[in-house]
């Protein structure tokens, strides 16, 4: 590209546009492994510190370096955080995708790119405002170690965005300080680059676009975190004492967070001994086995994995369900089948996980939608697992788990830890040793257990996956078998009353219901506002757990149409809802999408409008 064309054209015409403040999406296109995460996190943190609602979503490849990656930053004064399809500001730092990225830009958008990212169609997009930067020259002048060059180069777009949008430089600096944990040298190197690029813009590239940011007050008292860290913190405040795991995207960072936070939050005891152990297993099968072993002995044990790992945990989940052993399994869902799109979001493990095992199994699944729930379910999962003596799944996903979300502070667990029905030696003495491991004394389907190491001579029982009677003795008797399964079903019904209740927002006059869960929530929230503007009032039920409960049945009963919004191909939750409420099966309309990306409000609104004949 010649320097001439890069000069701003038609400048005056555009600057007449009224400014668009705190409402746009930036799409940063870079090469995976080039260190753009630091640059993106810096922009997000700086905006957040200016009190402006912001979210970031990383659309990254399954690759260590070289493949394209996109990071979308949504700035929205109304606090909407869902992904949008359109981009107002493109940072085209990846020559592999630059042409396609430019093509997908809507009219009047902005494109920031380095001189050496040559855009074939630049001339054909007179509507787009281009800002071209001599990034190579900046890097050369910065005179840093070769290894750092790519990272530093990315800081150039931070500088441009800062200058063009009016982000406060102090906040950029503060963000870098947070990122580099206060280490002066990297902060300085990076900030110099930011500054250099900003200066260049100031002197050479007059602003032609209408986008800008203004300080707000919408983030005070909030912080930003990813769901895997929130979940790990929740587990720590849930008293986790044994973790076994096998690395898999997107769950790895949950265990990383455990390893980061545990030493600080659960320091060694007065004898200098650890109060927890994190063991990297040889595979997910072994990870699940260790969780079951530790849970049997009475530790609060957990693992974190994703779809392929869940498959390997199938047999152990069945054993845990049937031998009635607590354990917590986080599934940070990613896109299948098979290896699928391992770095893209999905809610495709709902049916599988609910029924994981062979024969008749049904598992408890918690469905967090936001950072507070990732934290809360992190500790609550242990209480439920020990109360119900069964494996409990937390179905998070890549979007929740790995992206940065704004959140209000978490709440310290309001209830003491519930260790469930465990008989001590003293209690056994009182019972004169008379007890049955699988005997339903209280009528809730939950029997009492003892832990190995209990010193009462009658404490022991034999845990097994084979048929057993209430005394845990081996049995193939038809009545023992049937009675036991019936008790397990009853226990599952008890679970219905113990798991978190759905969040319901009912609107007067609404004829349309929406049911959703997990990371689909922000898009639903935004879509409902759009639908209201279009004259469609909706009520909303957000599921927080499986098994489904009566609230959900009542909700469905009230609406002519209930759209089930989810991120999977087979409309899995809709199937479960139909099974739960066969009388309403035809009211439940699938509003599912499965393309590897977080849902947009637009998609949901269109789907509902279509269904309601208002498209």
């Amino acid at each position: 590209m010649s320097a001439l064309i890069e000069q701003p054209i038609e400048k005056s015409e555009r600057s007449d546009q009224p400014p668009i403040v705190n409402d746009f999406t930036i799409n940063v296109a870079t090469v995976n492994g080039s260190g753009s995460q630091t640059a993106n996190a810096t922009i997000i943190r700086a905006l957040f510190k200016m009190g402006i609602p912001v979210t970031g979503k990383n659309i990254f490849p399954s690759n260590i370096s070289g493949l394209p990656t996109w990071y979308t930053i949504r700035v929205n004064k109304d606090g909407y955080t869902a992904r949008r399809d359109s981009t107002e500001i493109l940072v085209a730092f990846n020559s592999q995708t630059a042409d396609a990225d430019l093509e997908s830009l809507k009219e009047g958008a902005v494109c920031i790119h380095p001189q050496d990212v040559v855009l074939k169609d630049k001339a054909n997009r007179p509507d787009v405002i281009f800002y071209t930067l001599p990034v190579k020259q900046f890097v050369k002048e910065a005179n840093v170690d070769v290894k750092l060059r790519d990272y530093i180069a990315n800081m150039a777009y931070v500088g441009v965005i800062m200058e063009l949008l009016g982000i406060e430089p102090e906040q950029v600096k503060a963000a870098l300080q947070t990122h580099f944990k206060g280490k002066a040298k990297p902060v300085e190197i990076n900030y110099n680059m930011v500054n250099k690029a900003a200066e260049y813009v100031r002197n050479n590239l007059p602003k032609q676009d209408p986008y800008k940011v203004e300080r707000m007050n919408a983030t005070t008292g909030k912080f930003m975190i990813d769901g895997n860290s929130a979940g790990a913190l929740g587990a720590i405040f849930g008293g986790v004492s044994f973790v076994s795991w096998y690395p898999i995207t997107p769950s790895t960072s949950l265990v990383d967070a455990l390893n980061d936070y545990l030493p600080e939050l659960r320091p060694e005891d007065e004898n200098g001994k650890a109060t927890y152990a994190v063991v990297q297993a040889e595979d997910e099968l072994a990870a699940a086995g260790m969780v079951i072993g530790a849970g049997w002995v009475g530790a609060r044990s957990m693992t974190a994995t994703s779809g392929p790992g869940i498959s390997l945990m199938t047999e152990f989940t069945g054993l845990g369900y049937f031998a009635e052993i607590p354990g917590v399994i986080w599934d940070i869902m990613r896109m299948g089948p098979s290896t699928g799109l391992p770095t893209r979001v999905s809610q495709g493990d709902v049916l599988k996980t609910y029924y994981l095992g062979h024969g008749d199994t049904k598992n408890i699944c918690l469905l967090p939608s936001n950072m507070k729930e990732c934290f809360e379910f992190g500790w609550r999962a242990f209480d439920l697992a020990e109360r119900l003596q069964t494996p409990v799944f937390v179905l998070s996903d890549l979007d929740l788990g790995m992206n940065l979300w704004m959140t209000d502070p978490f709440d310290y667990p309001a209830e003491p830890m519930d260790r469930g029905k465990v008989l001590t030696a003293a209690q056994l003495k009182e019972l004169q040793g008379k007890w049955g491991r699988y005997e339903d004394v209280d009528g809730d389907g939950i029997a009492y257990r003892t832990l190995p190491g209990n010193q009462h001579p009658a404490a022991a029982y034999f845990a097994r996956g084979t048929g057993h009677n209430p005394q845990a003795g081996y049995s193939e008797r038809p009545d023992d078998w049937e009675n036991n399964l019936a008790r397990l079903a009853q226990k599952h019904d008890t679970a219905r009353t113990l798991v978190p209740k759905p969040a319901v927002d009912e609107r007067a006059g609404a004829k349309v219901g929406i049911i959703s869960y997990g990371s689909a929530d922000p898009a639903v929230v935004e879509a409902r506002d759009q639908l209201r503007e279009a004259g469609i009032e909706t009520s909303y039920l957000r599921l927080k757990a499986l098994p489904l409960d009566e609230t959900t049945r009542e909700f469905i009963g009230k609406y002519d149409h209930v759209y089930v919004v989810e991120i999977n191909f087979d409309a899995q939750m809709r199937s479960l809802l139909q099974l739960h409420t066969p009388e309403y099966a035809t009211r439940l309309i699938a509003a599912n999408k499965c393309d590897g990306l977080p849902l947009t409000a637009q998609f949901i609104a269109d789907k509902v409008k279509q269904g309601e004949g208002k498209a």
Binding site: F242, A274, M290, A460
Partner: protein
């Protein structure tokens, strides 16, 4: 244990327990099955040593052999886990409470095929447990298929002739630097007993690969895993005796013919050399011995390898004596102050 020792009553062990207290449910295995004779030795040894059943866990995978834990020590918690997965469950259990003792019973199919990966990783981690493989060269419970330990040329009615090289589980164990590796024969009750005693005193994973004939599917005369073959061919590499405490070996022993191994909490293994000069603390020698036995088709038994220098997994993780399961909630859930500080940091 609360029961007091009733002085003079020889039927009671040091915990005041009768041998009957170490019994399990009646066995449902075929009569004459090698696995049952190993069960008897487990009962004898645990009673004799006064192993506290309430501090023991009995673990297994799936198979005829893996049913055995139901047939001994009713007073101990047991877990009949999944096929080949005893190691991972035991790892979790022993991490949750390092004061427990674990006896695991597996089969050659359970350990050598479906569970080989978990077996190797258990050894890498050195999880304290006695790991018994009741090795019959066949899948008993699924009725007569070859297992991975069957020797080349072995014949089974159901499965024909085995053409594949066997996996030697002792060799696998030694190569993983498992610190206690022994081979024995269910027909050699005394040796099984002495090895079991030593294994129970070993701090780490102790592997006992015990040839345990399947009388229903693999006990024909020319089977290398049969009683007749074992009886005719067993070659002990030494005579092993387990001695509970040092005071008991006042008797002079000749260092030329007797090797003494002191176990970590006091007991002693006395190995009286037979024909060959063999030092079980030498890992290279152990591998060589096994390789040679293989080549020469010899059935050697005894303590093949001992190494007491490795840390156990719970030691590596610096776990407390108190079971993780028994930690009170103040130790498990950080305080509100810690929480407030954390939230403050996140808000900063």
């Amino acid at each position: 244990m609360t029961t007091e020792l009733k002085a003079g009553n020889e039927k009671l062990n040091r915990l005041g327990l009768d041998k009957l207290d170490y019994k399990g449910r009646p066995s449902t295995l075929c009569s004459g099955c090698g696995h049952d004779s190993i069960t008897s030795q487990i009962i004898n040894v645990c009673w004799e040593l006064g192993v506290d059943p309430q501090h023991l866990i009995k673990m297994s995978g799936i198979g005829c052999s893996s049913k055995s834990p139901a047939y001994f020590m009713n007073r101990a918690h047991g877990f009949n886990t999944l096929h080949g997965r005893m190691p991972s469950v035991t790892t979790g259990a022993m991490m949750a409470n390092r004061e427990l003792k674990a006896i695991g019973v597996s089969g050659d199919g359970d350990t050598g095929s479906i569970g080989l990966g978990q077996f190797k990783h258990l050894l890498r981690r050195n999880v304290p447990m006695v790991y018994i493989i009741e090795n019959n060269g066949v899948y008993g419970l699924t009725k007569g298929q070859f297992s991975a330990t069957a020797d080349v040329g072995q014949k089974l009615k159901y499965a024909g002739t085995n053409e594949l090289t066997p996996i030697d589980l002792c060799l696998e164990a030694v190569s993983s630097d498992c610190g206690f590796v022994a081979r024995s024969f269910a027909g050699d009750a005394k040796q099984v007993r002495e090895l079991l005693k030593a294994a129970l005193s070993y701090n780490g994973t102790a592997v006992l690969d015990i040839i345990s004939p399947c009388v229903t599917f693999n006990n024909h005369e020319d089977s290398t895993k049969s009683y007749p073959y074992g009886k005719a061919h067993e070659e002990r590499i030494h005579d092993i005796s387990f001695i509970e405490s040092r005071e008991e070996i006042q008797v002079d022993y000749d260092p030329g013919t007797t090797q003494i191994v002191q176990l970590h909490d006091g007991p002693i293994i006395q190995l009286r050399k037979l024909d060959e000069d063999y030092d079980p603390t030498d890992r290279g020698a152990a591998m060589q011995l096994l390789e040679e036995a293989h080549a020469k088709q010899e059935f050697i038994t005894g303590l093949l390898y001992i190494n007491q220098t490795r840390q156990t997994l719970s030691e590596i993780h610096n776990l407390p004596r108190t079971a993780l399961a028994d930690l009170p909630s103040e130790k498990l859930r950080p305080s509100k102050e810690v929480f407030d500080k954390l939230i403050g940091d996140l808000l900063a």
